[in-house]
Assembly symmetry: C2
Homo-oligomer: 637 residues x 2
């Protein structure tokens, strides 16, 4: 065998010299990113405990069958909650931190993120008294049954029924068609004992009052061991929807049992309806909720919103709906795209399972089509924007300048970009900025450009409602949401000066990172900026880069490349400040010491196929094939 089995020190040296060039204060930036030293240490402590646990270090997950991986996931779930008890971790923040660090979608994630929040925000006092503590301590495991085989984003089309029976004070849940089968439900397939079911509420007089929520036991519990334990209750059939390997066709969420369920006229007592908002009287009379869309969805803003709603205030619901819809589209689409960009930037080795990106990509990928399909949500963002635009122009026609200013100042953050469309005394507001070389490093100019682009696109779509092309909803939704995010960047930059955890030099670094975000956001939609004449340069300098360029986008593009070159030496400092351990990243290409080739080599040696020199299947398949080939070739070897 070759004598040279040592990897050279090149990788290590390269990483060390890169670290030597960093000028930012890594500890200070780390504490800034993690909201202080104390939270950082708490986080590090939890992760160091997890990293030592055998259950979270099962080797060769990627080579196992789906059933084996699912079982490994159950072992992780059990061990995690033992640790919660041993170390006194909180079942909310600490557990979610642990789940995130493990990088594995365990069945209990759905209990935590979907079942529990919906239960606590919408259950009646009786239901809370009876099951609240069990939900908190995972004495029951829940899931949230909304999507059906034939119905997803369009919640109002759900077919499952819950018919009220006044005689017994029960609801009868039923799956009337095959397409009404609950489908894709995380943790339903094999794990959950209970669920919250979205079903159309049918009153005794036959009137359908639309989707409402019902608490349903799915499987037998059992204190003593017994054959009945964990079996499905009569009238329910359920199972795993068989998503494996592939994204789920790509290795995504392998430990999670997305499932299906059908109900055959099963009964639940009346008090199992989640009736904090809408109710049914004993006789079967319907008591309306404050707002028609109140019962949709789970996921933290909802909690805050429900507090307000408890106080009778529904005014912010439309605003919240539009902003969260736009953010959902923007964040999911950007995350998926940026993860793939990161993977490609690793070159050929980025395709290796050992790079650690592929599984994260596969886990993230469904977010663009699930929990509100992005294309549909875009349309809702545009609808809200047009509504706000119509209100604004109507107001502008009939009110005085003072009243108008007052109205503009009261615009919610998600509509504030619309002020660009109104004549005003402030010239910076009423006219797009003229761009000088220094503009590309001025956040306020970049933010105003993003607001102008949103405003002019919404104006465009309002003027041309008769002739919409196929991309307009996506362009407008992106523009409106990016203007909203740009506003938040402006706020964060303003707040940055008040933060004492980092010094002036590091603040300048953080500011430049934000500027890079703003510049690349503009770059990714240059067509819009050019179409609406937003790249305006002073007349004496029609070529902004001062070169022979004819390209009006050149100045922006050069500003980006210069800023990247400027920030590049700090990049390793920034990633060190994130503080992810090798255990968390689980990537041969992301190892802290830079020894990527060594890491790839060592992982390959552990592969099951490499445990024998001649593979299983040689005698049966390879050898007969070779012998036939040799016979046909008339060759003796």
């Amino acid at each position: 065998m070759p004598k040279i089995t040592e990897f050279s020190a090149q990788n290590i040296n390269d990483m060390q010299s890169a670290r030597n060039r960093v000028t930012i204060d890594i500890v200070a930036v780390r504490n800034y990113l993690h909201d202080g030293q104390e939270l950082w240490e708490h986080r590090r402590n939890i992760i160091s405990i997890l990293a030592k646990e055998p259950a979270f270090n099962t080797p060769g997950m990627e080579f196992k069958s789906r059933s084996e991986r699912f079982k490994d996931g159950l072992a992780k779930m059990k061990r995690l909650y033992e640790l919660v008890e041993e170390h006194g971790w909180t079942v909310a923040d600490d557990v979610n931190l642990a789940l995130f660090a493990m990088g594995e979608m365990l069945p209990v994630y759905l209990h935590n993120m979907a079942f529990e929040p919906v239960f606590f925000s919408q259950a009646s006092k009786e239901l809370l008294d009876h099951y609240g503590s069990l939900v908190i301590h995972r004495g029951i495991l829940g899931c949230y049954l909304q999507t059906e085989l034939g119905h997803g984003t369009n919640v109002s089309a759900l077919e499952t029924t819950a018919t009220y029976i006044p005689e017994t004070r029960e609801f009868e849940l039923h799956s009337p068609t095959m397409t009404s089968t609950k489908w894709w439900i995380g943790a339903l397939g094999k794990t959950s004992t209970h669920g919250v079911v979205q079903a159309k509420l049918i009153l005794p007089d036959g009137v359908d009052v639309g989707p409402h929520l019902f608490f349903v036991q799915l499987r037998y519990l059992g204190e003593a061991p017994g054959p009945q334990n964990h079996r499905l209750l009569p009238g329910i059939i359920a199972g795993d929807i068989g998503q494996a390997e592939g994204p789920k066709a790509m290795g995504g969420s392998d430990c999670l049992d997305n499932g299906f369920a059908r109900f055959n006229h099963i009964r639940v007592p009346k008090w199992h309806m989640l009736s904090r908002f809408a109710q049914v009287t004993d006789e079967g009379k319907y008591v309306k909720p404050l707002h028609a869309k109140i019962s949709y969805g789970g996921t933290k803003a909802f909690m805050e919103m429900s507090e307000r709603l408890n106080g009778g205030d529904a005014s912010l619901l439309a605003e919240l709906h539009a902003a969260t819809s736009g953010l959902k589209v923007l964040c999911t689409a950007a995350s998926v795209q940026d993860l793939e960009t990161a993977r490609r930037s690793m070159g050929g080795h980025g395709y290796s399972a050992f790079a650690g990106i592929g599984k994260k990509y596969a886990d993230l990928l469904p977010t663009v089509t699930a929990e509100g399909e992005n294309y549909v949500l875009d349309q809702q963002v545009v609808r809200a924007a047009l509504k706000a635009f119509t209100r604004l122009t109507a107001f502008a026609k009939t009110q005085s300048q003072d009243k108008l200013n007052e109205f503009v100042n009261s615009l919610p953050p998600s509509s504030v970009y619309l002020r660009r469309l109104l004549p005003g005394s402030d010239r910076r507001l009423s006219e797009p900025p003229v761009l000088f070389e220094a503009s590309w490093t001025d956040p306020s100019v970049l933010i105003s450009l993003l607001e102008w682009r949103a405003a002019l696109l919404v104006h465009e779509v309002a003027q041309t409602t008769d002739a919409h092309d196929a991309t307009i909803y996506q362009r407008v939704s992106k523009a409106v949401t990016e203007a909203f995010v740009a506003g938040r960047v402006g706020e964060m930059l303003a707040l940055l000066n008040e933060r004492e955890v980092i010094g002036p030099k590091d603040k300048e670094f953080v500011k430049r990172v934000y500027i890079l975000y703003l510049l690349t956001t503009i770059e990714s939609s240059l067509t819009d900026f050019l179409s609406f004449g937003l790249l305006r340069f002073p007349p004496c300098d029609s070529s902004p880069s001062g070169s022979l360029s004819r390209d009006p986008t050149k100045g922006l593009r050069l500003a980006i490349v210069r800023l990247c070159e400027d920030l590049l030496p700090e990049a390793i400092g920034l990633t060190d400040a994130f503080g992810f351990t090798d255990w968390e990243l689980d990537s041969a290409l992301g190892v802290f010491d830079g020894q990527v080739y060594k890491a790839l080599w060592e992982r390959a040696q552990t592969e099951p196929l490499n445990q024998t020199e001649v593979p299983d299947g040689y005698e049966e398949y390879i050898r007969p094939m070779l012998l036939r080939g040799q016979r046909l070739a008339g060759a003796k070897l």
Copy 2:
């Protein structure tokens, strides 16, 4: 259990009415797409044979472990070549058709696509006489060992050495470092008996003359069963690189054993050098090849090129290199992106492994970074474009108009767009077109726009070599290659009239599909068209859509949506004309009869996890967790 277990006829009816609306002649279009009725029937015959074979219908592949899937792949490989013999299929076209239809990357694919073409194009007569017939009949199985752990696209950096030993007339192959380990080599890990190795040729005087190819036996063959069979030869260590599940982190190429290999001073006889072009004399004197890059790469154009090179003609190599580099980038990037667009258009169910897209995506994904990393290839396209531009401008300065016209007419297809930059008598050539509404359905206008954009971008980059931004190589490469493809679309449209297999109505349909390609190609790079002032409208009609729009891109965008609406009723006819069977597509969402929910349901029932109601791991993990939770909640259930 619910009584309704039948799916409604809705899906079937929807598909039937969609088919009823088709106006194109599906059989004629099918024969057009498949180059005639005869080829179509040959193809259908092969696929119907494959679809009946148990080896190609192993259920639940996606739920198996990597080792099981690899073994299933070996079974498919063996059976495929039995069928080749039984039915007299050709080992080239017919086998490749079968492999493509199976949608599975089997180890023998690398023998067929990499090992065999390199062997036959570069082996000496002696090597061909000895091994040619064995290679053809798969009496040996080969792989192509180029990429190393530390070196991919940059072939000149390969570290593996082949040192000539004149005393014994042998080459000694050696892996001097760990980073020189051959890595990612398809079919090397567990299957191949032989390989062609790229290694730096070192002459007896120590001079390194760069990478050359050597034929090397890797594993023992054995006519009789024996423990030594298929084991690695002394001095070689090799194995699988452990890519599984994940793309290879996403379920890609699971049946393929990408592998690694290290050589410890192993000897091969001198005649094992692939020496058709470069040679070493018995004494160790190097005989140069006709062209320095002749020995790189495998993959059909190469074969044609090598014929020319055999005749001493190397002039087209640079042209071929630039055009194929650009096409490689364009085709791989577009395929990956379009496949993901198709997946998202299926909504939430597109994420299911049963949708059949995820695995195809994962199989295709490495093409953007492998076999020439796209970002690196872009730079080579730009370099070639700048060279052509420089030649053109130099020529323009010194020559007469007649000579210049002659030169322009002699431009190769990949540089023909540059004629736009030269003054000429033909006004359509020397000035970008003014766009009317009818322009959007005129292929010649769209092609000229794509040529103008390439020409102006190359001009821009030539003028500003001192200040390049991070995206310029990608933009120029895309522009140049899309201009080349647009030229080919123009040729195909011209040829369309001569084809007799389809009638005038179907020709009009095909033409509109081509126009849609041209329009969406322009749409995807509107920033460039706007930046260089290529969206020019007649002065009287600054608003091209005739509406209140301020958006100069609106006319193009509306033309696209109108054309899509126009073509939509024919879409199902076109996909029927492709002729893919349900067996080939292997997609619950792509079934011919449209019963997608039924297909999803039925596939889910077969999943291993659903074969027991209570999952393995319940007693061990789920129950203790629930009991602990119930104890903590102080609840009895």
